[in-house]
């Protein structure tokens, strides 16, 4: 038992049959693996599901316990729905525990950051704070809060938190964390689970949306507060982030209120600058908050001119 890695290698086409509930799953592909096990995409009765399997049965029991609790919450969906928990013999050999959950199809927030950087950052943050608020109301911290564990669900366009391995009762030691999002790692507080622990991780995610590379640099001498001004695409949120890093928000909702306020201000600024532009017929870059919009208008004008030119030529 001692030194083995908890990952279980399965291949496309492998069939897992549950010992207790007798359901049979077909493995499609690996979704990801980590320190506590592997998650596979699988199918059962023409349904696509996510299946987590580990050499350490306590991982499966602990995580399915948490999912069961979260699934009871009405209203918001915290975590994927739990569908099955069972044991299986792999290739007639050793016995492993696994659990099956709803497959959340979509882009992880990590992929989103890589493709779109800080676009929609305010909206995403606000939505995430809402989930954290609901979770905190139950007396739990999410723990391992990071962009890899957040999926923008394709079907609903809503954010979903997957991987509940870090979910911890308030007042207990956080069960699972990833160093760069951990406030202990930055020496800015303890590893005891509370609301401020998650808000800290969320603040790091916001910073990471600006530049992962600069965040890594700052981690070398653990100087995130000092470096904060250098993350320039998120300037409007600097104050909120600073407060979250320092643990000044005791509740997700008080942080959400300030984030929403900034979001509204940015939106009106954007609308004003758009109106302004239309009135003057010519875009001015001085006020332009939204550069994509500027490019949009110029390219539309350019296309019109080109078409006009082509028409004149053919006439």
């Amino acid at each position: 038992m001692s030194s083995i890695h908890p990952t279980v290698n399965l291949y496309k086409g492998d069939r897992l049959k549950g010992v207790w509930n007798h359901r049979s799953y077909r493995i499609e592909r690996l979704l990801g693996e980590g320190a506590r096990g592997s998650t596979y995409l699988a199918s059962w009765n023409q349904q696509t599901v996510a299946l987590k399997i580990s050499k350490d049965p306590s991982v499966v029991t602990a995580e399915s316990n948490v999912l069961r609790k979260l699934n009871k919450v009405q209203g918001v969906k915290l975590g994927p729905s739990l569908l099955d928990v069972d044991d299986t013999y792999i290739r007639q050999g050793s016995k492993y525990s696994f659990y099956v959950m709803e497959y959340v199809k979509g882009l992880t927030l990590k992929d989103w950051f890589e493709q779109h950087s800080t676009r929609k950052l305010g909206d995403h943050t606000s939505q995430l704070l809402n989930y954290l608020h609901e979770l905190h109301r139950l007396g739990y911290a999410y723990g391992d809060f990071k962009p890899d564990n957040i999926i923008i669900e394709q079907k609903t366009n809503q954010l979903r938190l997957v991987d509940v391995g870090g979910v911890t009762k308030f007042g207990r030691a956080v069960r699972e964390y990833t160093t760069i999002y951990d406030r202990g790692y930055w020496r800015l507080g303890s590893r005891k689970a509370d609301a401020t622990y998650d808000l800290f991780s969320l603040a790091i995610c916001m910073i990471q949306a600006d530049s992962n590379q600069k965040l890594k640099q700052a981690s070398k001498n653990k100087s995130i507060l000092k470096r904060l001004p250098s993350f320039q695409t998120i300037t409007p949120y600097h104050e909120v982030i600073r407060k979250a890093l320092l643990g000044s928000y005791s509740q997700a909702l008080s942080m959400k209120k300030e984030v929403d306020h900034i979001n509204r201000k940015l939106l009106t600024m954007r609308q004003k600058s758009t109106n302004h532009r239309y009135k003057k017929r010519k875009p001015t870059t001085t006020h332009a908050v939204d550069h994509t919009e500027v490019i949009g208008v110029t390219s539309v004008v350019a296309i019109h001119l080109t078409i006009l030119y082509v028409l004149i030529q053919t006439l």
């Binding site: 030194s3 049965p57 306590s58 029991t61 399915s64 316990n65 044991d87 202990g184 303890s190 590893r191």
Partner: protein, 249 residues
């Protein structure tokens, strides 16, 4: 530190033992006393992840009912806290399975219960893991080659204390080094739960290529008894001079 205490040795080393007793058999003896032996092997940056010289690391932990990992210095912080936690859970799991066998008879362990019942057992184990007392003796290899890894070791220990501080249960740790110029093992820090005392620990490094892991383990394990017995010896330096070791210098 009575009944509800989990006891561990955490050995941090970068090489194979090359002198004195076989560390694997010492490790299994220590395990019989209810102390698990966990080992972290630290790689040089240019070493592959599976070097031959470090295979002993896994064997010592296996014999000592413990957990082992082989990692680069950069990953030490993450690894040290994880190994400590996993080893503790493993000990608790062993204990709970024993209890289950008393209730349900032989061959019963958590896994032979249906998954729905397992959840409750799991919660009991988590509760124990959070609230039990934990005693960790950290045994650091200070042979010459470890010198450039020592800042990473210190950072990892700082980080470990942070994790221990977050638990509800008490914890005590002590730090021993091996070898020094004159001794097999030397106490650097006596049992304490005060993380601030870590900052004042500065090991001196040995010269030459001697790594007497077996003897060091045996001697370090005695520190648990000095504590379990009376406190007459408590606080006294626990330096051990091994005669065979002296002769070899």
């Amino acid at each position: 530190m009575g009944k509800g205490t989990v006891r561990q040795i955490l050995l941090i080393t970068d090489g194979c033992s090359n002198q004195g007793e076989d560390p694997i058999s010492v490790s299994s003896e220590i395990a019989q006393q209810g102390i698990s032996v966990n080992v972290i092997g630290v790689l040089e940056d240019d070493q592959t992840e599976d070097p031959v010289g470090l295979s002993e690391v896994n064997d010592i932990a296996e014999a000592g009912n413990g957990v082992s990992r082989i990692v680069y210095a950069d990953d030490l912080s993450e690894t040290v806290q994880m190994v400590t936690k996993q080893a503790m859970n493993q000990t608790i799991q062993g204990y709970v399975n024993q209890e289950l066998q008393q209730i349900f008879g032989k061959e019963t362990d958590e896994e032979s219960l249906p998954p729905s019942t397992r959840g409750e057992v799991q919660e009991v184990m988590e509760e124990l893991g959070e609230t039990c007392d934990l005693q960790v003796m950290i045994l650091v290899d200070t042979s010459a080659s470890m010198q450039n890894k020592m800042s990473a070791v210190k950072e990892a220990l700082d980080d470990l204390i942070l994790s221990l501080d977050a638990r509800a249960g008490n914890h005590y740790f002590s730090i021993y080094q091996f070898p020094t110029r004159k001794q097999v093992v030397k106490e650097l820090l006596d049992w304490t739960s005060d993380g601030n005392r870590l900052a004042k620990v500065f090991p001196k490094f040995a010269v030459g290529g001697i790594t007497p892991t077996g003897i060091a383990l045996r001697e370090a394990a005695k520190a648990f008894h000095s504590d379990i017995e009376d406190d007459v010896m408590g606080g006294a330096a626990y330096d051990v001079v091994d005669s065979s070791y002296r002769q070899s210098l």
